[in-house]
Symmetry: C2
Subunit: 479 residues, 2 copies
């Protein structure tokens, strides 16, 4: 068997999540008196609709019409127009006209019409042109990231820079492809900021040791850390990548999950690059930027849709990329349809505009309120400290653990933070992910939690965490 | 860049298909007088709905209701019941009850409820039990095949036996993972039959050379060859795999595309294994069987759905498999929904039973008629010979090419069969795949064509191929 598979770890759906599934099964089959809670709350994964975040109505209307084109036939028009707004019907007709059937393989890169929509979206977002031929639709951002990482990896000496803490898709994929992770640290004390001086030292040190460092991964807004980069910082990162001849891989899937938009708005790396003062950098720095329908206010994780845009990537590589995509035939067309809708939602004047805007705003406001509430909750706990949520769907508090807790963990052969998270799961039904699954500075302990539990349950959620933490401290106080 | 990517080839969407897209673009933008045809006919890929095969109504009804659960609300019931049959509504409710939202990530292996449906389907098909925990839902069969091949590949010395000719997913994936393809030949003269004596010689020779041969890939019904294995032949293959300690990878995606059901019914390898006389073999032979929603009468290629069942696979490997699946989070839920529907279609007595049965029968009958018609067409051409279509969606005729044609091809630096196929594309708009993309015996030339063009266009399609072939022979007759 492939030894690289054995090496790989993916904590977001690791032991703790498997244990949560076991408990859920027990609860569903009536073993509820074993536990002091009634349900499992999955805060281990950014999966909003699992926790009842409603889908955007317009998106689902268009998508369901694409799925059942019989409804678009003349004979059903009078009934269907009572169930669907005019713009949903027209959009479905336009999409089907471009796609043919959602049941047919599309172009390997994705439906050309939809890639056009994405290009226009990027242009509007950034104020700079985008080429549909440089865009690949993907089955979620993860599939795109994996394709690019596997292409960059020439052999086990290929180095890819990834942050610590990081989303474990990166470490898992590098383990699978046998590349060398070259890790740089985000600085917790300054809100998980990214220090370019440290990037330079890291790449230089790795290269001195003979590692062939090829690319830099930046997750912005951060996962699991939630920070959002400033434009000055981004400019320095671009300078760094250009000087060190690194491909920049920008994971920007949380680009609309921005909770301090005045102080820290989202800026895409594409925009930052296009506005970089030196033309030589603008025309040559290689950038791949990833986006997804799973996050933001869309939250359509189960559909597996996303895209990446290639900027300044060599034509020979682009041809190889097409070949790799073509072996998988195409990303699923339902996911592609949602990418189209995310990138081109109803406009002012459209029948669905008001309801669309209201729904998005309501999800956004609620996410923001919950992020602040959970941040406050964590910071109120003894020995817990949490950086502010600028973006994404997560908080990543640090916890001090007593020697007793550390020893108990050691006895069980697990990391102290995993020990803490396991105790939390068994006591509250809340499933989070231990910091060790993302990487963290030696002898610091964290966990990642989403703030996705429903708002009417949120106070209960917070107080169950507080109660658990208090009890945990008591049970593990020094002798 | 990854050197393995450069090595990889995937002819189904290779140069010829890219050229076909260019011509389509030209035709759409009014450059139609350059060509003697009005449209591109994609016979390079088994993509039925691209060529207007209608989707199964019931499947799309259920799927669209899952997509737009607003329609299931009480207030819409009177309208919706005029558009949807009762069983479609009930099925959508049952699925949503089990899934939650199609917009949420599911269990990494796929929704447990749907894996249950698959297990019951396998039990009914084979008459032997199946365990939902041994089933993985996938994004089409291709994704499942790639997962398994990447897991089996320990290093470049790992050998995987694949047929020649073969579906290039296999050669491409082995190239990508750096494994060694160990090829065995199907015998065209005897209807592309599989000779176990030859398998034995092949594996022994490879092992003598130090290749660590681990697995045998069988595509049944065959792709590109269309043959269907007899039960005796399957039993011999199982004996062979057991004796040679090989994992059997059974690509059974064409299991309902069977055109001579009396002489050659489809038998799954799972059934053949469960009925193997020796218990030791039944309990130990490792088998992975792949299925898909893209083929059969379903033809839902664009949704990317499928599954594989693991039989007798070591528990340690199963755990690693789960980890690999979890990094990709889950297969898209719309594809999963279709797997459920394919495996559990309407039953006798259900409101949709009659229309479902009629639709499936009509697609089947038409596919069968077209397969026979194209087989006859090929066999009527001078210098062309075609084995009967027992199954799948393809024919793989052999063509004799004159020295002049071979020389012309050489001048252009391409294979003679690709030269022939390119001439066909430029003359008729029909895009097929050259035999060299699948592998073939040295100095024989073939091409693969689907028989999916619509029935009312089929005579025109056949005669355009006949005319082209006649002209090609004239233009390339010996001096």
């Amino acid at each position: 068997m492939n030894p690289l598979v054995k090496k790989m770890e993916y904590a977001v759906r690791g032991r703790l999540a498997i244990r949560a599934d076991e408990i859920r099964e027990e609860l569903e089959h009536g073993n509820s008196n074993k536990y002091s809670f009634k349900r499992i709350v999955n805060c281990n994964i950014g999966n909003p609709q699992q926790l009842n975040q409603p889908p955007i109505t317009f998106f689902r209307q268009v998508s369901s019409l694409c799925d059942n084109p019989d409804l678009l036939k003349k004979e059903h028009r009078s009934l269907v127009s009572q169930l669907y707004p005019k713009d949903a019907i027209e959009r479905a007709e336009a999409l089907l006209n471009a796609i043919g059937s959602v049941g047919a393989y599309s172009h390997s890169q994705g439906v050309p019409y939809i890639r056009n929509t994405v290009a226009r979206f990027i242009e509007q977002r950034d104020g700079h042109p985008a080429n549909p031929n440089d865009i690949y639709l993907t089955q979620g951002a993860s599939a795109g990231v994996q394709t690019i990482l596997s292409m960059i990896t020439e052999n086990s000496n290929t180095g890819i820079m990834i942050p610590i803490p990081q989303y474990p898709l990166y470490s898992a994929s590098l383990a699978l492809y046998g590349a060398t992770p070259v890790t740089y640290y985000l600085d917790e004390a300054t809100g998980w900021s990214l220090d370019v001086q440290q990037l330079t030292e890291t790449v230089d040190a790795a290269r001195r040791e003979g590692v062939d460092v090829r690319a830099l991964v930046i997750i912005n807004p951060g996962n699991p850390t939630g920070q959002c980069l400033s434009s000055e910082n981004m400019k320095d990162i671009l300078t760094f990548c250009f000087e060190k001849r690194l491909v920049l891989l920008a994971d920007e899937v949380y680009q609309t999950n921005i909770y301090e938009p005045e102080q820290r708005p989202f800026i895409s790396f594409k925009k930052a690059l296009m506005e970089y003062p030196d033309k030589h950098v603008r025309d040559n720095l290689e950038l791949v930027s990833f986006h997804s329908i799973s996050k933001g206010m869309v939250g359509e994780c189960g559909r597996r849709g996303g895209y990446f845009e290639c900027v300044n990537i060599d034509q020979g590589i682009m041809e190889q990329l097409y070949k790799v995509a073509s072996v998988s035939l195409c990303p699923n067309v339902h996911g592609q349809v949602l990418v189209d809708l995310m990138c081109n939602p109803p406009c002012q004047g459209d029948p669905s505009y008001d309801s669309y805007t209201k729904e998005v705003q309501s999800i956004y406001d609620s996410l923001r309120r919950r992020s602040k509430k959970l941040e406050k909750c964590f910071n109120s706990m003894e020995g817990v400290s949490c950086q502010p949520a600028q973006g994404s769907m997560y908080l990543f508090p640090t916890i001090s653990l007593s020697n007793k807790a550390v020893e108990q963990a050691k006895k069980q052969g697990i990391c102290p933070d995993e020990y803490y998270c396991r105790a939390m799961l068994e006591a509250t039904g809340v499933c989070v992910v231990a910091g060790s699954g993302f990487g963290q500075k030696a002898n610091t302990w964290h966990f990642r939690s989403t703030f996705l539990p429903e708002e009417h349950l949120f106070d209960e959620f917070c107080s169950s965490l507080e109660n658990f933490h208090r009890q945990f401290l008591e049970q593990h106080s020094e002798y």
